[in-house]
Symmetry: C2
Subunit: 222 residues, 2 copies
DNA sequence: CTAATTTCTTAGGCCAGACTAAGTTCTTTT
DNA sequence: AAAAGAACTTAGTCTGGCCTAAGAAATTAG
């Protein structure tokens, strides 16, 4: 029962889509950019391997064994992203792609050494929590910026890391984890939000505001 | 015509075995730990792709296109080895294995950034020259320690990096690139060499003495 | 110079992981 | 409650990269 790169990618994807629930095969197919039949096939195999539970037409849920592997890959990914930024000077819109390939090949030794070099960090460049070595993902209470009421302030916690263009745009607006934002206005008819970030004011679309996760204002830490 | 990881390994292996000559399929099979028929099959495909020339029963020789890819992989490998040692504190007997996996997945950007971090180095931890970005492997004039005449001194230039145990032993004897060694005696009947390294004297077997490459004494540089 | 041995290739197959085309089953609509 | 539509699975294929068994060519030995 050998854990291939493909298997790691399936488990990671299911984990990130699922977060404690059933995941539809089509969702997996979409994320991994493979056809739905490919997912059905792989998922049957992973069920055989006891890495997930699968009920036909019902979707899929990771077992503890499957989740353990998923979390290891996620830890690799997020540590690598941070290492690329901190140690090699990558811009934050390029770390994801590189980490996506490296996450499958680094050894435990490599993982430990970069974790140490980074001072055992807790979040990646986009604010996502890094699972601990024993497979625990720290829970964080966040909601979408879109959900913040008009007039309220909040602290940016996490941003989506999949789209480099979006990341560059978010950076240009000052949407970094830790930044304080205030929602000044929400235009009606699915219109944009007017927000203040530091000194500046920006109009941001609702789609974008769904990709920025925030917590209550006034960060507890620096 | 996509260059897979397997193809990269074949080309690299052929390059390192060949160094300007025909390479037997069995030699490739031995090095890559695959069966001879697997090599024949792959080699036919690589010939199709114009990455090497293949004549049945005669062996194989890289084309310029094939050599270019091989040198890129070798550059990745050797830069990675040095980076693992210098930046992450790996001992020199562990860098090879890790680099063996990473060499296939890093981007040009990663390559450039570690090269820069290392100050555009010219040799890896074992003394092997690092091919330049435009695909030139600096030639070095070396011979086996075994070939040094009794009484003569020489400077260690390169050591084999495949066997971690051997590397640890070589380190314990002081056989690092740059070290000065003097051959005091060669025991007859394929016996060991008595050599001086710094203050210490050691008896080393002929097999080991074949894995240490040296140049004329008195290093030109420090 | 033939015979034995070694080296290499062909033949045939397997497995992982993807695909398209053609059903099923579930869900939504009327 | 039936029909239409969406979601999912089955069936059948393909490609890459490996394998073993058997045969052909090259090399070495007698
Ligand atoms: Mn990422
Ligand atoms: Mn991230
Ligand atoms: Mn090496
Ligand atoms: Mn080396």
């Amino acid at each position: 029962m050998v854990i291939t790169q493909a298997i790691e990618d399936y488990l990671k994807t299911i984990y990130l889509l699922g977060q404690g629930g059933e995941v539809a095969t089509s969702a997996i197919a979409l994320k991994l950019k493979v056809s739905p039949p490919s997912v059905t096939g792989m998922v049957k195999k992973l069920a055989e391997m006891k890495l997930l539970r699968y009920t036909r037409y019902q979707g899929v849920e990771l077992t503890p064994a499957g989740e353990k592997i998923a979390l290891e890959v996620v830890r690799h990914h997020r540590l690598l992203e941070l290492y690329l930024q901190e140690a090699l000077g990558y811009p934050w819109d390029k770390v994801h792609e590189e980490a996506e390939k490296l996450e499958h090949v680094i050894s435990e030794e490599f993982e430990d050494r970069i974790a140490e070099a980074l001072g055992w960090p807790e979040t990646d460049p986009h604010g996502h929590p890094i699972p601990t070595k024993d497979g625990v993902l720290p829970a964080v209470a966040v909601r979408e910026l879109l959900a913040v009421e008009t007039g309220q302030s909040a602290t940016v916690r996490q941003v989506s890391d999949g789209d480099p263009g979006m990341l560059r745009y978010l950076a240009s607006l000052g949407f970094f984890p830790g930044a304080t934002v205030q929602v000044l206005e929400k235009a009606p008819f699915e219109g944009p939000l007017r927000v203040r970030v530091g000194e500046a004011e920006h109009a941001v679309g609702r789609e974008l505001a769904r990709h920025v996760l925030v917590s209550a204002a006034t960060p507890a830490e620096v």
